[in-house]
Symmetry: C2
Subunit: 404 residues, 2 copies
C-alpha cells in the first residue's frame, strides 16, 4: 500500500497547483494557466527563438504564425528530429482528434492548421488518429454515433488541406488490430495500473475501457503500428504536434518506447486557445457562446465577438484613452495574435490599443474580419470534401509517394 501511494505522490502535488490532463484543464485558483510552471511540471522544454530560427533555416520558409507567436511553445526532443532531418533522414507526423462533436471550433483547428504547415515545409507523411473508441467510452456515445462523428470530423480535417498522397486518417474502431494491436499489448505490459492512476487520475470506479485506452493513443507513435504505410521503416522517427493537455499520454509513451525497442516520439506542444469569456482554460463544447465554430455564420461570428469576447479595454472612453487596454486579458487581441499573420499590423495594434489610441470596438471589428474570412475559407474547403475523399484518406493502403 505504501508503495502505491508513494508512486502517485509526484502527480498529487501537481493537483494542488494546476491540473492539466486530457480531461481537465484547471488553473490555480481559477486564474490563468502558468505555462512556465507546466513546462517544469511536465518536464518538457520551451521553444526558444533559436529553435524557431533553426526551423526557419532548415525549411527555407518563414515559421508559421503559431511558432512566431509562441502558440506552440513547448517541445520534447524536437532538436533530435531536426538533427535527423538535417542528416537527410525523414520522419513522420502523428496527430489526432477525439470526435465528440459534429462541429469543430477554432481551438480544434489549431493543431491541424499547424500540422498542415509542418507536413508542407518538411514534406513528410502524417497519420491522423480519430479516437472514436475513446469518445464512445468517455462521452458514452454509441459505437455508431462515434464512428459517424469521426467521419464528419475527418471532413473538417481534410478541409485543412492535407496532401492525400502523404496522409492516412484512421478511426480506431476501423483500424485497431494486427500490428497496431500487438504494439498495444507491448505497451500495456510496461505500464502498471498504479502508473496510469498517477498519470491520468483514474479511480477504481472508472471502467476498464478507460484504463485500456492509453496504449491505443500511444502506439501510433511507432511506425511498426503501420506496416502498410512504413514497410521496413521501423526506425522512422515520429513528431507529434498536439495541445499540451495530451502530454500525459506521450510521457507514458516515451517512458515505454525504449523498453520495447522503439524511438521515443518527439513532441511539439501548443498552449490552449482561450474561451471568448477569457483565458482561464480551454473552450467548452458545452457552451456554444464560449467559442467560434467553423459552422458559425458571419453574423454569428460578429455577434459572438461583440457580445462575449472579454475586453481588456477600460470602462469609459476617457479612461481608456488615459490608461489603454490591458492586453494581458484582452481576448480580441489574443485571438488576433493567433490568427493575424501580419506581424507589423499586430505590433501596431499592440501599441495603439495598449496605449488607448485604439478602442475595443475597432479591434473587435478587425477580429471579425479575420475570423469571418478564415471560417468562410474553411467552409468552402469543407463543402467540396466528398465521402469518396474521406474513404480515400482513410483507405488502408500502401503510400508509394510517402517519401517523395
Amino acid at each position: 500500500m505504501e508503495k502505491r501511494e508513494g508512486e502517485a505522490e509526484p502527480e498529487q502535488k501537481e493537483e494542488e497547483e494546476q491540473v492539466v490532463n486530457p480531461w481537465m484543464v484547471s488553473a490555480k485558483g481559477g486564474g490563468k494557466i502558468d505555462y512556465d510552471k507546466l513546462i517544469d511540471q511536465f518536464g518538457c522544454q520551451r521553444i526558444d527563438q533559436s529553435l524557431v530560427d533553426r526551423i526557419h533555416r532548415l525549411t527555407g520558409r518563414p515559421p508559421h504564425v503559431f511558432l512566431r507567436r509562441g502558440v506552440f511553445f513547448a517541445h520534447r526532443d524536437l532538436n533530435e528530429i531536426l538533427d535527423a532531418y538535417e542528416r537527410g533522414d525523414k520522419f513522420y507526423l502523428y496527430t489526432g482528434r477525439g470526435p465528440s462533436s459534429e462541429a469543430l471550433h477554432l481551438g480544434h483547428l489549431i493543431p491541424f492548421m499547424f500540422t498542415k504547415y509542418l507536413q508542407e515545409v518538411f514534406k513528410v507523411p502524417l497519420v491522423v488518429q480519430l479516437t472514436d473508441d475513446e469518445k464512445c467510452m468517455w462521452k458514452n456515445l454509441t459505437v455508431e454515433e462515434s464512428q459517424r462523428l469521426a467521419r464528419e470530423n475527418a471532413k473538417d480535417i481534410i478541409a485543412c488541406g492535407f496532401d492525400i498522397s502523404k496522409t492516412f486518417i484512421f478511426s480506431d474502431f476501423d483500424f485497431v488490430g494486427g500490428a497496431f494491436y500487438k504494439n498495444m499489448v507491448k505497451v500495456g505490459k510496461c505500464v502498471t495500473y498504479n502508473k496510469v492512476v498517477g498519470i491520468f487520475g483514474f479511480t477504481g470506479e472508472d471502467h476498464i475501457g478507460k484504463v485500456s485506452f492509453p496504449p491505443v493513443q500511444a502506439v501510433p507513435s511507432f511506425p511498426s503500428s503501420f506496416p502498410h504505410l512504413f514497410p521496413g521503416q521501423d526506425n522512422l522517427r515520429c513528431l507529434i504536434p498536439c495541445a499540451i493537455d495530451q502530454d500525459p499520454y506521450f510521457r507514458m509513451t516515451r517512458d515505454v518506447a525504449p523498453r520495447i525497442g522503439y524511438h521515443k516520439p518527439a513532441l511539439i506542444e501548443s498552449s490552449f486557445f482561450p474561451a471568448l469569456q477569457g483565458e482561464t482554460g480551454k473552450m467548452s463544447a458545452s457552451d456554444p457562446n464560449s467559442a467560434i465554430y467553423v459552422t458559425d455564420s458571419a453574423k454569428e461570428i460578429k455577434n459572438k465577438i461583440n457580445r462575449y469576447a472579454f475586453s481588456g479595454g477600460q470602462d469609459s472612453v476617457e479612461k481608456h484613452r488615459e490608461l489603454g487596454a490591458n492586453l494581458e486579458v484582452d481576448i480580441p487581441f489574443k485571438y488576433l495574435s493567433f490568427f493575424l499573420d501580419d506581424d507589423d499590423k499586430l505590433e501596431e495594434i499592440r501599441k495603439e490599443y495598449g496605449s488607448g489610441r485604439m478602442l475595443t470596438g475597432e479591434v473587435k471589428q478587425l477580429l471579425v474580419e479575420v475570423l469571418t474570412e478564415m471560417v468562410e475559407r474553411h467552409r468552402r474547403a469543407r463543402a467540396v470534401v466528398t465521402d469518396e475523399m474521406v474513404d480515400a484518406f482513410m483507405a488502408v493502403r500502401p503510400l508509394p509517394n510517402m517519401f517523395i
Copy 2:
C-alpha cells in the same frame, strides 16, 4: 472508499476458503477442491442425471463419458440452450486455449475432446480462441513466441477431430479488430476497475495489459464479434465448454451481456484433471512429472504412471486384501474414470480394487494401456495436420456450411 471495499468483499471471503480463478486453483488447507462449495460460491448449477438424460434424448446419442462420470459437472443456463435446440434453433460453441507451452497434457485435451463431442452431436459451429495476447502478457513471452505456440497448439486442437466446415480457430493477435474490438469497447465500458479487482484479484502493481484482457476473452461469447461467420445472426446463442477456473471471465460476461443487448452465454464446466501426485489442484506445466503429455512415449507414460501416480492402495498386499484401495484418493482409478469409456469395466474395477481383490499394479497396467492408446491416437492424428490445414482452420472466411 467504503463502496470499493464493499464491492470486493464477497470475493475476499472466498479466498479464506478456496481460490479458483484463471491463474490459481487452491483448495482449503491444501486439500481437495470442494466442488459443491464452488458451485455455491460461483452461483452456477450442478448437472444432474435428468439433464444428462435430456441431452441423451435430444441428441439420440449416448452421453459423453465426461458427462456420465460428472467430469463436466456444472453449468449456467444449459437448459435454455437445450430449449432453443428443441425448438429447432441452433447455437454455437466457444472454447479456447492460452498457448503458454508447446506440448499439451491430458488436462488440456479434456475441454477439446468434450467440445468435439458437442459439435458432433448437436451439429453446431465452433469458435476456438487462442489467447496468445494473454500469454504474451502473463507469461512474458514475446509476441512472436506466443504466436508460434498458438499455431503449434492449433495443430493439437485440430487433431482432436473438429469439422473444418464448422470450425473457426483464431489467434487474438491476428484477429482482434473490427466488430470484435467494438464489442471489447462495449464490454469494457460496463465493467469498473473495482469490479475486475473483485473478480480477478488484480492489484495496482499489475500492468494495464492484464486489466484490458477480460473483455478480449468475453466477446467471442457474442456472435456479432464474428460478422463473417454469423452474418445477420446476432441473436444466436452461445454455449461455452470450459474448465470451471474460467468461470470468472464468463460471470463478468453474463453480467454485461444484457446491458449491451446480447444474450448471456451459457456454460458447461468441468472439474480439474488431477496431477499424477494427487488430487489437490490442476496439473502443473512446470513439473513434467506431474502430468502425461501428448508427446510422451509409451515408455514415458508407463514410467510416469508406475512411479508417480498416487495410489490409494494399502502399504502391504495383506493389508490391501483386507481393507481394499481408497478410491477417493487413488489417481489410477480417477484417471480411468475420465478415460475408460466402458462403464461395466469401470464398475468392475471399482468393486474389485475397492474391496482389495485387485492390486494397484493391475489397475496401473490397465491405465497405461488406455492412455498409451489415447496418446498414440492423438499423435497419429497430429502428425498429419499440416500448416496448410492450420491456415484453413484459421482463415477468416464465410462458412457457408455453418448450419448444415
